[in-house]
Symmetry: C2
Subunit: 681 residues, 2 copies
């Protein structure tokens, strides 16, 4: 604890594993028998050292414990609580116990007993009572354990299939009002709500829609689960806020319903690992990791939270590939560069597992900065350097990233990969559009010195003076289509791609944008079926690694900005708006790989009047400028194993002119920072 404080830390987190404290049903040990389980002594010590604590009483812990920290008797004595996937299989990995169904009544009953026991103990030590406990974390990485062990839960008892008062039927009726409306939307012929079974998607015309609704229901049931846990804890004396960590950036938006329901009461953050073992994509915090970091932080910001990373790697589950001090340094600084405002290390110090409870060995090491015997490892210095950097530059967490291009975050699309029924009705799928936003649009932007930021399309936080990219697959929510029209009326420059939506979220024809633009009934947009030679702004034959959306019969008022030389059809075209804004159809989906992709984006940004905030001479050096008032911190990232060099010029919001910062030489895997303010420049 002292080493943590010396490293700039102020808040510890600790698990309180149910399976260890209640190893036999009804028999609890909080240190009475085994001193290793003395939670209160731990909390008191933290208080004495002057640290806050996040307590994580579960039910789930994970942390490489047997049964993920649940008591073994739970699955053994109450088999009915097991999670079951769409195909009727138990959620389990072959060599471990079955996972549970979160809202199963028996599981909730046992959980309540546990939380009623531990909550009063923790409650004695909350900050309001002069103790160390500042936050409680219900459960852990909610939903992850199910996804990784067979899929999301369809336990019929929990979900209430076939029961008019069951959760799922009630959800559907609430959403669509009646079985008639449901039949209309699904193009089905259910006699009543009890016949609707999301496991039998072949009973409806567009299984994908039913699956989409089920996932929305699933995310709602996560919010129910949180409500239950928080209610039990509050009823039993917990008077501090709650926090929770999405298992990874790809799961952040599964918590949208939770945010709607619980608001500020539950601060949602994320976990940002770059490697936990050799099956991870990368050994190091690569640029691909930076993209993930960026979209994750942006999602959390849009949810209304200071982007907090509850599991910023302190080490790794695996000894190999190694977690090195240099890699961690680049990881931490790129997270802060890309918007992080709070963090916790997973883990800061290792230690012995309670006998028989660990799965990795009898020591939980995790390559932590402080080893299980208190040994100080080289990564400790990295943690300390980062802590001191943040102490010295506290203002940076208040600062926001300056941006050049706004991307209307496609919330629903980001979850579409969870719908495990394919959709043949859509030429451009929601998931491929979201993949494109990350691997194409954002990655190209970062290579091309265009700083991207997300915004909520249906909100007021849109900067009307900056171009707005609206990602769209073949369908787009009606209200989003309406909002695009509203923004066009306000003079915003809107770029839309990879296609133009002609359907709403229920896959019914919806041509609000097309109609506003005056596109005729003869207008068509479709992906190229033959190789396209895509040419725009003098850049010929741009490698199109995804699809080129070609438009037919665009209006005479439209100006062609890019076309396919083979078919002679346009894929980029513009319709200037009366009030100075413009609508640009940008019909290409790609993943970033060619310089031509950057040139195409740069040329489009220049056309939209964007003069980018930071300019480099090396596409492989990525930058971020965090500014508050007239003070900025420039982060210059080299996330490669080779040295990189670049010239840099910046134009921060507080400066009228460009500032040349000169030549930078960056060692492999390094992030440099430069403090900038009018007086310093």
């Amino acid at each position: 604890m002292e080493l943590f404080k010396e490293a700039g830390g102020n808040c510890l987190a600790t698990y309180c594993p149910w399976g260890i404290h209640e190893a036999v049903e009804g028999v609890f040990d909080f240190g009475e028998k085994n001193p290793q389980l003395d939670l209160e002594a731990f909390l008191q010590t933290a208080r004495e050292v002057g640290l806050y604590v996040v307590c994580r009483p579960g039910p789930y812990q994970y942390s490489e414990l047997v049964y993920n920290g649940l008591p073994l008797w739970l699955g053994g004595n109450y088999p009915e609580i097991k999670g079951i996937n769409r195909r009727g299989e138990f959620l389990s990995d072959p060599s471990s116990c079955h996972q549970i169904s979160y809202l199963h009544p028996v599981f909730l009953e046992k959980t309540k007993v546990w939380l009623e026991k531990i909550s009063p103990i923790i409650a004695k030590h909350t900050v309001h009572k002069g103790g160390a406990v500042a936050f409680l974390q219900p459960d852990n990485e909610l939903g992850g354990i199910q996804l990784w062990n067979g899929g999301y839960d369809y336990n019929p008892e929990t979900m209430g299939f076939g029961n008019a008062h069951g959760r799922y039927p009630k959800f559907l009726i609430k959403k669509y009002t009646s079985i008639e409306a449901i039949n209309d939307i699904y193009n089905a012929s259910f006699k009543d709500i009890t016949e609707v079974d999301p496991r039998n998607t072949e009973t409806v015309d567009i299984p994908y829609l039913m699956e989409k609704d089920y996932f929305e229901f699933y995310c709602n049931h996560m919010a129910d689960y949180f409500e239950f846990l928080i209610d039990v804890m509050e009823t039993n004396g917990i008077d501090v806020p709650f926090v929770h960590n999405s298992a990874n950036p790809n799961m952040n938006s599964n918590f949208m319903e939770t945010v709607d329901r619980l608001g500020d009461k539950l601060l949602i953050g994320s976990d940002h690992y770059y490697s936990l073992n050799t099956h991870w994509e990368q050994n190091n915090p690569t640029p691909q990791y930076a993209v993930k970091t960026l979209f994750s932080n942006e999602m959390l910001r849009l949810m209304g939270f200071p982007p907090t990373i509850f599991e910023l790697p302190g080490g790794s589950l695996s000894d190999w590939p190694p977690i090195t001090a240099q890699d961690l340094d680049a990881c931490y600084l790129s997270n802060i560069a890309l918007g992080m405002k709070g963090h916790n290390y997973y883990i800061f110090t290792g230690g012995p597992n309670v006998k028989g409870t660990g799965t990795t060995s009898d020591i939980y090491d995790f390559s932590a900065p402080i080893g299980p015997d208190g040994e100080i490892r080289p990564t400790y210095q990295t943690v300390k350097d980062f802590g001191l950097f943040l102490q010295k530059n506290e203002w940076v967490v208040e600062a926001e990233r300056e941006c050049d291009l706004q991307i209307a975050m496609p919330w629903e699309y980001t979850r579409a990969k969870n719908y495990d029924v394919p959709c043949t009705q859509l030429e451009e799928s929601a998931d491929s559009t979201w993949t494109f936003v990350r691997e194409g649009l954002m990655t190209t932007s970062l290579c091309a010195d265009i700083s991207p930021a997300f915004c909520n399309l249906n909100s007021d936080d849109i900067d009307l003076g900056k171009p707005l990219y609206v990602p769209s697959c073949s369908y787009l929510e009606r209200k989003s289509q309406e909002q695009v029209v509203e923004l066009l009326k306000k003079g915003v420059t809107i770029i839309m791609g990879p296609t133009l939506p002609m359907l709403d979220e229920l896959f019914k024809p919806c041509t609000i944008i097309a109609d506003y633009l005056g596109l005729s009934k003869e207008f068509k947009i479709h992906a190229n079926t033959k190789p396209a030679r895509a040419t725009t702004g003098g850049i010929s034959n741009i490698m199109n690694t995804g699809a080129v959306y070609l438009s037919e019969n665009i209006p005479a008022s439209a100006r062609v900005l890019g076309h396919d030389e083979n078919s002679e059809l346009p894929f980029i075209w513009e319709i200037p708006q009366k009030n100075g804004g413009r609508f640009i159809m940008f019909g290409m989906r790609w993943f970033h790989s060619m310089n031509e992709h950057s040139m195409m984006m740069s040329s489009l940004m220049a056309r939209c009047g964007v003069d980018t905030v930071v300019k480099t001479t090396n596409a492989n050096v990525w930058t971020a400028l965090r500014t508050v008032g007239d003070k900025s911190m420039l982060f210059i990232m080299n996330l490669y194993s080779s040295p990189m060099e670049t010239e840099i010029t910046i134009r921060p919001s507080w400066s009228d002119s460009e500032i040349e910062l000169g030549h930078f030489k960056l060692p492999p895997m390094s992030v440099e920072t430069r403090l900038l303010s009018p007086s310093k420049s």
Copy 2:
């Protein structure tokens, strides 16, 4: 060419794209109209500069050409030649042309016309006629284009399904002699051979066996295709040897039948990229890449060839992620460290594509060391440094890697991932065993300073004095089981894992090894179904990331070396043999992630009397020692983005004692070399 020669090069390769030389059927241009197509001028120039040439006349080229270098008229005018996968779909990627069926008679007819045209032109310039052409390459990365575009070919006309004289029926009859034998093996009831259709695997009891045979047939048909191409070229004057490149290490063993058929006439090599775009696993030549390099070179060596990498990256298809000089340097040196004996760069110089033929842009750049306008890029120096290193140390390509542990290469298992019908009959599948060999056994060995080498179980090249690991899934060929017994009789130490085979290659009971070991009828081996606490040699609770195979009723003569603390059953046990050898059952499949995995392997090697050739103090620094006579080159690899340090001690075959080499500091992504000989040590 002069720059290439200066960089130590002696042999160029060039494509001769059919689609460009015969853009209109029957109309050829070899420079008569378009000087860019003057192949002979190119060959003459090479001769003048003093370089050899590999000519690649196709039919397929790939090289990011439209239709992969085939003439567009081919697919357009002769749709019957298209490849078709098992599900009846054309082999194609959505935005390009359909791929062809290699042995379709119409495709062969058109190919023959093309080869009859170009072969005499090339033949004028072979080395035997004083010209530059030293090798011909038929086709390119055979099979890859089908796999990547929908799967291997099942074109019914080409394969002859339902035709007693068709290729596939003839193959089956040749393999199994009669329809009765086939019915017996497949447990089916076909009336005659024309009823056997590999697309309908549900007609047999073990679809997996039928699929396995189909893949063997497919590899045979690749050999037929090579025979055809080579025959046409030889008939038309080509008098030099032929070469071919497997698309990647995972495809090397698809050429086993080709090697059996063509022997020395066709030198098979491989392609060793570490990144062609952001969808590749790694941006850099990581340790995972080194493992791939190692098994690929070992496969080529066992096939009887000097391991030759025909496409060692000179650049990358994509501009991003970038190919840097430092990464390439580490890539080249780790390839040579791990057994490479010959190489060619893909590509050395870029240039303009013939108008309308490129898919990446109108320039084929590939981030090559020499740009399309002749500009010299930083990677040129890397190529040159490597060339000069090889010139200076020519003896290194004659040297072989010293090894500590022999692994009996599971040839058939390495292809099992191509059988796209799952196999429920096998507890341990062939593919998971092969995955384990790479990700578990080899990776752990490299981390633990144990130098692994492959050997052919059914050959004489086994070193009887070194331990031999024999990978086995639930089945193992009868002749391999017999060979294991033969080797045990010769006193070899055999380690078998992850399981003990109780079936032969036709999934019939076959307990040759078990019988020889005296295992009783009560003996059982099965994967753990509950979490195991695997403990061996004082190492407790080893994380078992795959499966632990537990044995029941082992004989009294067996010594337990490792057991599961939960079930109390052994997973490692040994039966000493009369002649000094031993049989060790090593029932664990893992992927390398924990230090305990290394400790377990080291402890086992020590038990087998192995004193490893190279010892380091850093598991992340991998080494290779190539020795010929009393001269060795030590390669010390740091394939991370962070610096690494280590002490090194070696015991080369020419030295009776250990030699301390002292302390090494390795920069990120670097490979150091050290020349060693008795006089120098």
